[in-house]
């Protein structure tokens, strides 16, 4: 318990002066047109910073992520739609840049996995349930067993 409390105190204390490497989106990148900027942010969240571990370019402070953010904004300013921007980047960097993998024959199993897993879990469970419901009720007690039960219930002999 004290260890836990110490941990909690540590957590609270260190929250105050934690080092940080944040930069991500910088003010000079932000577009004047707030609608366009909002679209840029939305697109950025779905794009992987190629040199990071599953981090989006919106979150990453890597130099490459900044270049990609500027690229996205340039394309948007040139009048591309959201899909055109994404397609442009996929042509350049491959599907690797999309944090949400597209549905194709390579990822069919991935996207299908939740349904398959659910079926794999739920179907045996339901079948088991049905089998149990259909199974005949246990045999009734034999007369000898009834006698024994009665005497146990009457307290004549100890149950065990």
């Amino acid at each position: 318990m004290t260890a836990l409390r110490r941990f909690f105190i540590l957590l609270v204390v260190f929250a105050g002066f934690a080092p940080n490497l944040a930069s991500a989106v910088q003010p000079d990148e932000i577009l004047g047109d707030s609608k366009l900027e909002a679209r840029a942010r939305r697109i950025s969240v779905g794009l992987r910073c190629l040199v990071c571990q599953n981090e989006s370019i919106d979150d990453s402070n890597a130099e490459l992520a900044r270049d990609l953010r500027l690229l996205v904004r340039e394309r948007l300013k040139a009048g591309d739609s959201d899909t055109q921007v994404r397609d442009f980047l996929v042509r350049r960097y491959g599907n690797f840049i999309l944090l949400k993998p597209p549905f194709d024959w390579e990822t069919a199993l991935l996207w299908g996995s939740p349904a398959l897993l659910f079926a794999a879990g739920a179907i045996p469970l339901l079948l088991g349930l049905r089998r149990r419901r259909q199974s005949p009720p246990p045999d009734p007690l034999s007369p000898a067993e009834c006698d024994r039960l009665a005497s146990v219930l009457n307290g004549d002999i100890p149950s065990e």
Binding site: P19, S23, A24, P27, N95, K100, P101, T107, L110, L129
Partner: protein, 665 residues
């Protein structure tokens, strides 16, 4: 000299684990109790030896013995003492030694506290524990020797990665490993049960304390890692669904399922075969996590292939233990007799649904984590599976778990009444829905999911205690009787309620992220910026010189309606030697929310780039995790669970049974 003895102790420990792996099994086969009981001293000796080796390595780090490769690469004479110690496990070799140390601690704990257990089960459990320790000690000695020397010794080391010189990362690995490795005991229990072919409700009772301890530590370890990511990476991200995080989440999900199914097994003697499977699965996922993190396979399949010795060794351990235990399972599990029957609508039924959903969640995380690796290996094509995938697939499965949680808690064992149970959580459900509607109406135009999430969180927090309330509260009952009932309830019931409420608290924080405010701006000293309910004014910017860095320090005043609330001092440090810049963010906690300010580049006209966040209720994300862990500990203190013992409760205790009505005062 001390270093040599440490190295020698490690080799000796390997020999001891060999004895520990073989003798007990041989003894139980031949019904030779004396031989079987060798497991106990062996486990304790192994612990003493590994602890000595670990102490020797720590000593080498503390005195900066630069004739050791690991010390040279990770230490510096001027490094603060706490990071010299944390540096012991801040690298591959040392962290594997910590892994084995924790394994030995758990083994020794079973050896010393397991006196109430059946002798055969204890002997076999410790033997399996011995196999795991043998495999990992061999791994350390052959591929990752922390005691490797180098001559001539340099005068100074390379220092620890500055990112790791952080209190959060210093305690994160021990916490996480206590969770990961703790589940090894449960795994060993399962393997021992399969070897002896005997498993009953008592078995479930033996594993429960170990599962609870491990689960609590794993919960804290994950929370700590997530908080570290939050304050280090800095823009409010606390979970990235990156493979390393997933590696810790998978055993947590499986372990949570295990805690619930073992409850059914203990109370009703049902779900035995499934519980054994989960026990194997949980530790297998811990091993998988160790493999993913330690082999380098994640950074790139290619980097794994270029230096394969360590990766292949762990992969071999992985295949041996997971494959071996599954073979043992398939071979022996059919011999176990299935136990108690129950109606579909019952506590057991609810827990089966819980297990189904948690296991699918776990399998989805596993698929999403390994799919890119598999695809790249098979076709060479690279894809990313990131947050959007998990939000779409994992999210919808979590909702039913959350909705059913309080209902399942108030449904009766064996044969329940769904409507009755739903009625019992009605108050919580109505309160949650009402709050959602009020929030949605009051904050029209805001995010849609946030009010729903908060309502759900309130439903969980209230609903988790509705079962307790119905057991404690009686209309017109004296407060003394209420108190007697409350103290009479088993601690495990309190633990359940606390842990479930903790999940609600975490959900509250997650939901509130929708109301977060972000400002990215160029600010001049004296300029005031609105940030949610507060105003931020940067009042001072100055350049300062530190011992090995120069920094731009700022002071910001946080005010609300004209009155000053607090001040924050964010800074940006440049380390000329390492050519790195680190932002010392200013974080201040106001209520349960936080204001977070980090500084960027300074411009010639005296202004500076600043990122400012107002994150309402954000701390409850981690407070909820701490509450969950506290629930686990409270449940652990249940008298029937006192480590390994199954003691009969004294007669006449009020164990939640209805008390005779007492006259009102």
């Amino acid at each position: 000299m001390i270093v040599e003895t440490g190295h020698y102790a490690l080799a000796l420990a390997l020999a001891v684990t060999l004895l520990q792996s073989v003798l007990p099994i041989w003894g139980t086969r031949r019904s030779d109790l004396g031989l079987a009981s060798m497991a106990v001293p062996a486990a304790i000796t192994q612990f003493v030896l590994v602890a000595y080796a670990f102490a020797a390595l720590t000593y080498a780090h503390v005195v900066s013995d630069f004739s050791l490769v690991t010390v040279v690469e990770n230490s510096l004479t001027t490094k603060p003492l706490v990071y010299k110690i944390a540096g012991v496990w801040g690298n591959h070799e040392g962290s594997m030694l910590l892994w084995v140390l924790i394994l030995a601690i758990f083994g020794a704990a079973v050896a010393s506290f397991g006196r109430g257990m059946a002798d055969e089960l204890r002997a076999n459990t410790l033997a399996v524990q011995g196999w795991i320790a043998f495999a990992f000690l061999l791994f350390i000695l052959l591929t990752s020797d922390p005691f490797a020397r180098r001559f001539p010794a340099p005068f100074e080391g390379h220092d620890l990665n500055p990112l790791l010189q952080d209190p959060g990362l210093a305690i994160h690995p021990p916490l996480l490993y206590l969770g990961y490795v703790g589940f090894s005991i449960v795994f060993s229990f399962a393997a021992a049960a399969l070897i002896s072919g005997r498993v009953d409700a008592a078995w479930a009772r033996y594993i429960r304390p170990w599962a609870l301890i491990s689960w609590s530590f794993l919960t804290l370890g994950i929370a700590m890692g997530s908080y570290w990511a939050y304050y280090t990476l800095g823009w409010g991200g606390f979970w990235f669904w990156d493979p390393v995080e997933n590696a810790s989440l998978m055993p947590w999900l499986a372990g949570t399922a295990l805690l619930h199914s073992s409850a059914v097994m203990e109370k009703r003697d049902a779900l035995k075969i499934w519980t054994i499977f989960l026990a194997i699965l949980t530790f297998s996922l811990s091993l998988l996590g160790t493999f993913l993190v330690r082999s380098g396979v994640l950074t790139s399949v290619h980097s794994f292939a270029s230096d394969p010795s360590r990766g292949l060794f762990i992969l071999a351990i992985l295949i041996l233990f997971i494959g071996g235990s599954l073979v043992l399972y398939v071979w022996r599990a059919p011999a176990l007799r299935p136990g108690g029957l129950f109606a579909p609508v019952s506590r057991e039924g609810a827990l089966v649904v819980n297990n189904l959903l948690l296991t699918i969640c776990c399998a989805i995380v596993l698929t999403g984590t390994l799919y890119p690796l598999a695809l790249e290996t098979l076709t060479g094509d690279k894809i990313s599976v990131g947050a959007p995938f998990f939000n779409l697939t994992f999210g919808p499965l979590v909702i039913p778990i959350l909705l059913l949680m309080p209902i399942g808690q108030s449904i009766a064992w064996k044969r329940g009444d769904f409507l009755g149970a739903a009625q019992r959580v009605m108050v919580a459900a109505v309160a949650g829905m009402a709050l959602s509607l009020v929030l949605a109406a009051a904050l029209r135009g805001g995010p849609v999911l946030a009010p729903i999430g908060v309502g759900l969180a309130v439903y969980l927090i209230l609903g988790s205690s509705s079962e307790l309330v119905s057991r404690i509260w009686g209309r017109g009952q004296a407060w003394r009787a209420t108190l007697a009932r409350a103290t009479g309830l088993p601690r495990s019931a309190w633990g359940t309620a606390i842990a479930h409420a903790g999940l609600g608290v975490t959900l509250l924080g997650l939901a509130a992220t929708g109301w977060g405010v972000e400002r990215i701006a160029v600010v001049k000293p004296g300029q005031t910026v609105d940030l949610g309910p507060y105003q931020v004014t940067i009042v001072k910017l100055e350049e300062r010189q530190g011992p090995n860095y120069s920094e731009i320090g700022g002071r910001a005043i946080i005010s609300q309606d004209g009155s000053t609330v607090t001040t924050i001092e964010p800074a940006k440090r440049t380390f000329p030697v390492r050519q790195t810049t680190i932002t010392e963010a200013g974080i201040v906690t106001l209520g349960f929310g936080q204001i977070y300010i980090s500084l960027g580049d300074r411009h010639p006209d005296g202004s500076i780039d600043a990122r400012m966040f107002w994150k309402p209720l954000v701390t409850t994300i981690w407070i909820g995790a701490i509450v969950m862990a506290i629930g686990g500990i409270v449940s652990l203190s249940d008298r029937r669970l006192r480590i390994g013992f199954a003691r009969r409760a004294p007669h006449g205790r009020l164990s939640g049974n209805p008390v005779a009505p007492q006259p009102a005062e």
